[in-house]
């Protein structure tokens, strides 16, 4: 398993990134975690619909998104708020979506991130089509799709991997193996030794990285992205991580996993190892941490305010976003046939 940064903050090799980059990654992870915590709280207060926490997966998500370039496409999941945000999806829209509002999917014109996929598996092939189109258009853009261990069991995973390999589309398949698909452990989900090895079935390179090592993830995705951009085709990256929280705010993990397991993983916290490293290098201080948290929480509070200030969606809006122009039946229904 590819790893550069150990849980205790010690380093395997020279790190291929600058201190500033490292600090930026850390800052992003801190902000993401605060968003996660805030969202859980809001859900409990009934201000959000069901929410899927990503605590423990910050390194995988921030590392992957940090490896992308402007305009690259992203097709990720309900659990990938941090990844989507780092790729340009505004917190405010992510929150709006979680309040139960389709307008949360209306990303800014310069952001090429699809709304979080709720179906498991179906979105991976979209990243193949997106990348394929960019290739045909002769652009430099690539597409990254993020998905879980469970998603690799869907037939659509297979078809997406095969199409990407056959047509050499510039697609990066980024799997966050977080140990579970709701209650179903990865050890049962598949009998292959790893998820990375599945790439062989498509003649595609596959690599396994420590998903809690933000640097390793960044490097691995950068290489895959470079490969894609240079026309060498797709790659599969398995980021080994762990979902520290419940599957969603409606889930009770104690029904299917024991606390020791989670406790072990808490020790592998993706933020802590970076903090230790930065501290050793004299670049982390309590004050800086407080600064980070204050500014992050300010940003997030602002996003929340923005989202909650969005006026209630109307009946007309619901009917008017189905087609470019409402069809005859919809016009009738808009005409206000008894509601």
């Amino acid at each position: 398993m590819f790893r550069l940064l150990n849980p205790d903050g010690s380093v395997r090799d020279r790190l291929p990134i600058t201190l500033e980059e490292m600090k930026a990654l850390y800052a992003d992870m801190v902000e993401a975690r605060m968003y996660d915590t805030k969202s859980i709280a809001m859900q409990r207060q009934g201000r959000l619909a069901t929410y899927a926490p990503f605590r423990g997966q910050e390194a995988a998500q921030i590392g992957a998104a940090a490896a992308l370039a402007e305009g690259d496409w992203v097709a990720a999941t309900y659990r990938d708020a941090a990844l989507n945000w780092r790729a340009g999806y505004p917190w405010g829209l992510l929150i709006l979506g979680r309040t139960g509002d389709e307008r949360g999917g209306e990303v800014p014109a310069d952001v090429n991130v699809l709304p979080p996929s709720i179906t498991v598996g179906g979105h991976m092939i979209h990243a193949v089509g997106l990348a394929w189109a960019e290739k045909l258009k002769g652009s430099e853009r690539i597409a990254l799709t993020s998905f879980g261990d469970g998603a690799t069991s869907e037939g659509d995973f297979h078809e997406a991997m095969n199409f990407a390999a056959v047509f050499a589309t510039p697609t990066v398949f980024f799997c966050q193996n977080n140990g579970y698909a709701i209650s179903y452990p990865t050890s049962e989900q598949t009998k292959s030794e790893t998820i990375a090895v599945k790439a062989d079935a498509y003649g595609m390179p596959g690599i396994r990285v420590d998903g809690n090592d933000v640097v390793a993830v960044l490097v691995a995705v950068r290489e895959a992205a470079a490969r894609a951009r240079s026309g060498e085709g797709p790659s599969l990256i398995e980021a080994v991580t762990y979902r520290l929280g419940p599957h969603t705010t409606a889930d009770d993990p104690t029904r299917y996993r024991d606390s020791e397991e989670s406790a072990d993983w808490e020790k592998q916290d993706p933020l802590e190892r970076v903090r230790i490293l930065l501290e050793r290098q004299g670049s982390w201080t309590e004050d800086w941490q407080n600064e980070l948290e204050e500014s992050a929480s300010a940003v997030i509070e602002e996003a929340v305010e923005w989202a909650e200030a969005v006026p209630e969606p109307t009946f007309d809006q619901m009917l008017k976003r189905m087609y470019a122009e409402p069809t005859a039946p919809l016009l009738e229904q808009l005409g206000g046939e008894t509601r």
Binding site: A49, T50, Y78, G97, T99, G100, D101, E102, I118, T119, V120, G121, G122, G150, A151, S153, E154, G155, D156, A181, I182, S183, Y184, E188, Q189, T190, A250, D252, R255, Y256, E312, P313, T314, F315, Q317, M318, L319, M322, T327, P329, L330, Q333, T338, R339
Partner: protein, 325 residues
């Protein structure tokens, strides 16, 4: 004999089926360890063993196809799709294989199996979790489609579905899982697949619905009764094959009908029912058969649910209009 809700009734029916018939097995995503996201299979794995109640990988086509093979080989699989909206990847298996093996082999092989699917909206769930696309299943020759609205029917129809020699898609109204309670015998009677249930007798108008929409339909009926209207309410309950006789008989009496469903209006099952009534009871009709249904949109997210779901008011309004004609 104790009061149980619809979810508990289903759990009891599955428990009974597993106990009575060793050919019965349960499979689906998260139905074992956690007892399913709605706890319908709660406790069944511990009681009947992981050899008969098993969690599967996340692959709906695989679940349906594997259950199909099991059924051909003599088991009585009860497969769960976590939500109707996630059954679509299994659509090919259901329409091209599950529904056709008997026809394809002239009765030599058959697929006695049940595919359970929680369906419908109203709980502010995420995308794809609130579908009520029963019409894509009721149009498939070779399967039956059932949708209970009471705990007794839920238990009785599920047991009947498991006994049935042919495949049954079993739709469970999420909104009603815990909303309605009823006395259900410890060993519930089978409820035959086919006939409608006359929920309420009346003379002036017939309200026709099924599944979760019975909630609003009942409320609308009461509202109308309080205005002195005598309302007949039909719980269609078996969506395919349709009990055309039972439905038409009621309209021949009342002369007026409103069909209520949650799915999008266009192409919904309401069209089939309204067409049947209009064709067979035309000369009894004193007013057009109207439909109160979802709009021709995707089922919306939480904040717009109220805009989408057919309301008691809408039903009352359309029924009143129909009574005036």
């Amino acid at each position: 004999m104790a009061e149980v809700n619809l979810a508990q009734a289903l759990n009891r029916a599955l428990d009974i089926a597993l106990s009575e018939d060793e050919r019965v097995v349960l499979l689906g995503e998260d139905i074992g360890r956690t007892g399913g996201v709605f706890r319908i299979t709660d406790g069944l794995r511990d009681k009947h063993g992981s050899e008969r109640v098993f969690d599967t990988p996340v692959a709906e086509s695989g679940i349906a196809g594997a259950a199909f093979g099991m059924a051909i080989a003599g088991l009585r699989p009860v497969a769960e799709m976590q939500f109707l909206g996630f059954s679509y990847p299994a659509y090919d298996q259901i329409i091209n294989h599950v529904a056709r093996i008997r026809n394809r082999t002239n009765h030599r092989f058959s697929a006695p199996m049940v595919i359970r699917m929680p369906y419908g909206g109203g709980i502010g769930a995420a995308e794809h979790h609130s579908e009520s696309t029963e019409a894509i299943y009721t149009h498939i020759p070779g399967i039956k489609v059932v949708a209970p609205s009471t705990p007794r029917d839920a238990a009785g129809l599920l047991l009947a579905a498991i006994d049935d020699p042919d495949p049954v898609v079993f739709l469970e109204p999420i909104r009603l899982y815990r909303a309605v309670k009823e006395d259900v015998p410890d060993t519930p009677d089978r409820v035959p697949i086919g006939p409608i249930r006359l929920e309420r007798k009346g003379d002036d108008i017939t309200l026709i619905s099924w599944g979760a929409m019975l909630k609003e339909t009942r409320a609308a009926a009461s509202a109308l009764e309080s205005e002195g209207v005598s309302v007949e309410v039909i719980d269609v309950r078996t969506l395919a094959p349709l009990d055309r006789e039972g439905i038409v008989a009621s309209i021949e009496k009342t002369g007026r009908a409103v069909v209520i469903h949650e799915a999008a209006l266009s192409g919904g099952l309401g069209g089939e029912i309204a067409a049947t009534i209009s064709e067979r009871a035309l000369y009894s009709l004193r007013a057009p058969v109207r439909r109160v249904a979802g709009w021709d949109t995707v089922f919306p997210l939480k904040r717009s649910e109220a805009h989408y779901l057919p309301s008691v008011d809408r039903i009352v309004e359309v029924a009143s209009k129909t009574l005036e004609d």
